[in-house]
């Protein structure tokens, strides 16, 4: 049976397509540059602090929390400024990342307390959110980067030492998050 759309449904689809196109234009790489540097900085920083024999070096991980709070406050204010509350797709992506981040912090806290490495779950959750965002805004560079990150999350299962994990996560942060961010930012500035 032929699926016939009402004119309201047709307009809704057109407007969603316009929203996607607008998000492609406004897609800033700064968030990726910031988080790529945060992840790489904390991972390499933790590695060197451990190697230097600093006590309670793991406290450097608290910087993730600081970075997450900073990101949410910054993007909440930006979304209000741009009136993105009306943009369904922007709202959807915002909610998705909020849920993912809450799950990251809860699972990381629980797994560390159970004596397990949480890197796999963290990277897996980030890669899923990353891939869905990339598909929604239709950015192929982000799709490729998120698939690499997804594969990277599984590779962490085969890394046995903390040092190996830290180095690997630092490299993943630079390759899968920082570099695509730089690419997006250059593209946006050209436009």
């Amino acid at each position: 049976m032929e699926n016939q759309l009402s004119y309201q449904q047709s307009f809704q689809i057109i407007k969603q397509t316009i929203s996607q196109a607008r998000m492609r234009f406004e897609q800033s790489g700064l968030l990726f540059v910031f988080w790529g540097l945060v992840i790489a900085g904390i991972s390499f920083g933790y590695y060197f602090l451990r190697k230097s024999g600093v006590e309670k070096a793991y406290l450097i991980n608290l910087l993730y929390l600081v970075a997450a709070i900073f990101t949410f406050v910054y993007y909440f204010l930006q979304a209000r400024k741009k009136n993105e509350g009306k943009n369904f797709l922007a709202r959807l992506i915002g909610w998705m990342w909020l849920i993912i981040n809450i799950n990251i912090f809860v699972s990381a806290f629980a797994m560390v307390n159970l004596g397990m490495h949480s890197t796999f779950v963290i990277l897996l959750l980030i890669s899923i959110g990353y891939l869905l965002s990339a598909i929604i805004v239709r950015s192929w560079i982000l799709v490729i980067a998120s698939v690499l990150l997804n594969i990277g999350s599984y590779i962490t299962l085969f890394l046995s030492t903390v040092d190996d994990l830290l180095i690997f996560v630092g490299v993943v942060g630079l390759v899968c998050i920082f570099l695509p961010g730089v690419f997006l930012e250059i593209k946006r500035r050209k436009q």
Binding site: Y7, F11, I14, K15, T17, I18, A21, R22, R24, F25, R138, Q191
Partner: protein, 105 residues
């Protein structure tokens, strides 16, 4: 109710098709557009030039081997114009007929 005028530049079928294609699919090239919209190269060239003059798109010419390649890129101003066109059209369509009008029909 006051009706806004539909943007005459986007009111031509080929130009509207070009803009719709770019909004939905992102940047493309001349050959793909010609193939997808089934228009002659001459007609497409003329319409693209009009859209470029209005600042809605950017045409980037380069060479690939011995062949000229034209990349067609949607500009933010073009997206704004397209959105306004859609909103205006929606405004036209969503007007409900008065009772007396429908009674007459």
């Amino acid at each position: 109710m006051n009706y806004k005028e539909l943007n005459p530049l986007l009111h031509s079928p080929v130009r509207l098709a070009v803009m719709s294609y770019l909004v939905a699919n992102g940047d493309t090239d001349f050959k793909t557009l010609q193939k997808e919209l089934k228009v002659t190269p001459g007609n497409l060239s003329v319409q693209l030039r009009k859209l470029e003059e209005a600042g809605y798109i950017k045409l980037e010419k380069s060479f690939r081997g011995n062949y000229q390649h034209t990349n067609v890129r949607l500009l933010p101003q073009g997206l704004d114009a397209f959105e306004e066109y859609v909103n205006t059209l929606q405004q036209y369509i969503s007007v409900k007929p008065k009772k007396s009008d429908s009674d007459e029909n």
